[in-house]
């Protein structure tokens, strides 16, 4: 077991109102450079609808070479081909989208409409009509998920449902962009798994762009270098959430770390059936309460505050404990680390439009069996087409909703509806204890800033690197065993005296030293 930490995010889609505040905040700070006008490190898409980017070479298009494939020998290789073939195709990278598959820079597209001469590079007198924007009015025909589901779906879905999907770089555990980069400029940070481009190492080979299944790698044609979402690394390092998260009006983003087993990444990414990828990814995420895991993490050099952050991580709660967060398009085998709680509201709306009580638990659960389309669409998007996984998550969300169902029916009162006590029958129906259901309800509906963002600051440069050589660290032959702490500086527990404690995330089982300090 090689314990590594990974920064991750969960987005609770029921709370997204599609306001683009995240996109604008990100744009102004992170991709305002000349040459990146077309790049949206964060975008919000209307689904079903046209994704960004969208076109024959964009992910989901017929000429896309995104992601990994599993060879018949059970090994992983990039969809573009083996390493040599990949190099021989560098002179004209296959599957590289052109700028019109993103969106022409708004300035160029809009200038003819607001007066003044059109820039020459748009072809002279009048530029093209603005056709679409990163989150356009739903454009069903361009939706690759719908194309995959077939024609009847496209016709029918217009009447059924719609939701917003905010997207950033997935900071995958097994990133295809990193694997495709010929210069080794793209890398995963050992400490927190964030995928970054080294601007001094990038040579502009642009292989990363078509390799990314999420369309989140960009080439800046002015500098000739790749650019991407950095998960606001400069904020994360000092313990603050990303800009998209910080500014989110719906408060739908949760940020935190998980511990995972670095030795089993390849094994997880190469399971045979794409529908098993989700479980494989959950399996390599380690239980931070397991004493063995904690010991291994300490031996690997993690500070106590990182281990505690992993224990109280909202990501761990939603992904592993409650299993209500799902990865986006796991079938590309990249093991993405931006997770989504799929939206229940569109399903509720569909049920309510038939006149039934859309918030009643039993009605909703029965509806999941009958409603093909919303569940199929969500399954194609979040679970490689496995309906049962999505239906299971929706049942838990319906159970959460049943705690406040009906209380909003009297109209807005200006107060948050008070949650009822969890009905043991409902809780049992979704395999949770009533207390757990209450906790999930709290986390999904009332979590405040400190609960949504549990981000340990980066250690000082030069201190023992987590995931580095374990021989030199605590527990290794070159370091100090757990019993030898007193002679070799403060123990991990002593180091965190006085650090903050998240009371709302406390399960009541352990004895945090902040609440129960040692007597002196």
């Amino acid at each position: 077991m090689r314990v590594l930490a990974h920064m991750g995010m969960v987005m609770h889609l029921d709370r997204c109102i599609g306001c683009h505040t995240c996109s604008v905040a990100c744009k102004q700070v992170q991709s305002a450079a000349e040459g990146l006008e077309y790049a949206w490190f964060n975008d919000v898409e209307t689904r079903p609808g046209r994704p960004y980017p969208s076109g024959p070479r964009a992910p989901g298009g017929p000429d896309s070479v995104a992601g990994w494939v599993r060879t018949s020998a059970g090994e992983l290789r990039l969809r573009d081909g083996g390493r040599l073939r990949h190099l021989f195709r560098l002179f004209a990278v296959p599957g590289m989208p052109t700028i019109d598959e993103y969106v022409a820079p708004a300035e160029d597209a809009l200038r003819p409409r607001v007066g003044g001469p059109a820039p020459e590079r748009m072809g002279g007198a009048r530029g093209p009509e603005p056709e679409w924007r990163p989150a356009p009015p739903a454009d069903r025909a361009a939706d690759p998920v719908l194309r995959h589901l077939g024609e009847h779906a496209t016709a029918e879905i217009a009447q059924t449902f719609s939701f917003y999907l905010p997207r950033i770089c997935e900071h995958c555990i097994n990133p295809a962009c990193v694997a495709a980069c010929p210069s080794g400029a793209l890398s995963k940070r050992v400490e927190d798994g964030i995928v970054l481009v080294d601007q001094d190492r990038c040579r502009g080979w642009r292989s990363c762009v078509p390799a990314c299944p999420y369309g989140k790698m960009y080439i800046n044609p002015v500098t000739g270098k790749a650019a991407k979402c950095t998960l606001c690394v400069e904020r994360i390092e000092v313990g603050e959430p990303t800009l998209c998260s910080e500014t989110c009006v719906g408060r739908l983003r949760y940020t935190g770390i998980v511990l995972y087993d670095g030795d089993r990444v390849e094994e997880a990414a190469s399971v045979e059936d794409p529908q098993d990828l989700l479980q494989a990814q959950r399996d390599i995420i380690l239980d931070p309460h397991d004493p063995e895991v904690v010991a291994a993490a300490e031996a690997a050099g993690f500070d106590e505050d990182w281990i505690m952050a992993a224990q109280y991580s909202p990501i761990y709660q939603l992904v592993s404990r409650f299993q209500v967060a799902l990865p986006l398009h796991p079938e590309y085998r990249t093991l993405p680390m931006i997770w989504y709680v799929p939206p229940l509201s569109p399903v509720v709306d569909v049920v309510a439009s038939t006149g039934a009580d859309g918030e009643d638990f039993d009605t909703l659960v029965a509806a999941f069996e009958q409603l093909d389309l919303p569940v199929d669409y969500l399954a194609e998007t979040f679970s490689a087409g496995d309906r049962d996984v999505v239906a299971g998550v929706l049942r838990r969300l319906a159970a959460v909703r049943s705690l406040t169902a009906g209380s909003g029916a009297k109209g807005p009162t200006g107060r948050a509806p008070r949650a009822r006590r969890p009905d043991p029958k409902v809780a049992r129906a979704v395999d949770l204890s009533p207390a757990d259901l209450g906790e999930l309800h709290q986390l999904l509906t009332n979590a405040d800033y400190a609960d949504r963002n549990i981000i340990p600051p980066a250690p000082e440069p030069g201190s023992a690197p987590p995931g580095g050589c374990s021989l030199d660290d605590l527990g290794g032959p070159g370091g100090t065993g757990p019993g030898a702490g007193a002679e070799n500086g403060p123990t991990a527990a002593e180091k965190t005296r006085g650090s903050r404690f998240n009371l709302l995330g406390w399960s009541g089982k352990d004895r945090p030293h902040q609440l129960f300090p040692d007597r002196v």
Partner: protein, 249 residues
């Protein structure tokens, strides 16, 4: 007897070229890694580039290999292993012509693309245009030299391995022999001068990407992990630029 002009062209200019090329490359790599890139315009246009770029680059690889063999391997060596002059000449001429055809066709496609595609033309710097002049000149004059002195010259053609190749090697052993170049056909002379000017310009253009051919990619693991420490500490810290450290809780 070597004239002053000959001495300058064939005894001095090569060393000026080597100095500018080596020092220029070192300087660029040391101080402008951020500018060291292909600056590809594939984002703007794909249809023409899909044909032009591979033709141009694969043709160039063929042509460069041909130049290396022709210039570096002495005639006596190939004859020692039993390759007759006629056979050598035949293979070199036709492989070279095939390579040249690919390069010229690719270059024409790429230049047409660069001029006619609006966004690509807008993204062309003055340095790019200057570089294109010398690049095109070297390639076109070189192709002309092959056609004129090899293909149209009957069975044997001009044997550059008696004159140009020994002169080329004499530069690198620091015993330049400008006299060898005296009787060389004009096309070759112009080709060499154009190429030397291109090499002088090389370190300051996007052509530097040729030295970043990502061969190590073939041998490396797919996913690269890098420590934050390495990134933070890779530069010497300068006064006033100490690391900010972690916030106190």
């Amino acid at each position: 007897m070597t004239s002053t002009l000959d001495a300058l062209l064939w005894g001095v200019l090569p060393y000026v070229t080597i100095a500018a090329f080596v020092i220029g490359l070192f300087w660029r790599y040391r101080y402008d890694k951020f500018g060291w890139t292909t600056r590809s315009s594939q984002l703007y246009e794909n249809r023409l580039l899909r044909w032009g770029s591979p033709m141009f680059h694969f043709g160039l690889i063929l042509v460069i290999l041909g130049h290396l063999v022709g210039l570096l391997i002495p005639k006596s060596w190939t004859e020692a292993v039993g390759i007759p002059e006629a056979a050598y000449h035949f293979v070199a001429t036709w492989m070279g012509s095939f390579g040249a055809l690919l390069v010229v066709a690719g270059l024409i496609i790429l230049i047409v693309r660069r001029r006619t595609t609006g966004p690509v033309f807008s993204a062309t710097t003055r340095m790019d245009k200057t570089m294109y002049v010398f690049l095109a000149a070297s390639i076109l004059i070189g192709s002309w030299a092959t056609v004129e002195t090899q293909i149209l010259a009957g069975d044997h053609g001009y044997d550059y391995r008696e004159t140009i190749s020994p002169w080329f090697r004499s530069i690198f052993v620091l015993q330049p022999e400008p006299a060898l170049m005296a009787g060389v056909p004009l096309a070759f002379k112009l080709h060499i001068i154009a190429a030397e000017l291109l090499f002088i310009l090389w370190p300051f253009t996007r052509l530097v990407h040729a030295f970043s051919a990502p061969v190590p990619y073939v041998f490396r693991p797919y996913v690269v992990y890098r420590s934050r420490d390495a990134a933070v500490q890779s530069r010497e810290s300068r006064p006033g630029w100490d690391p900010s450290g972690r916030p106190k809780n």
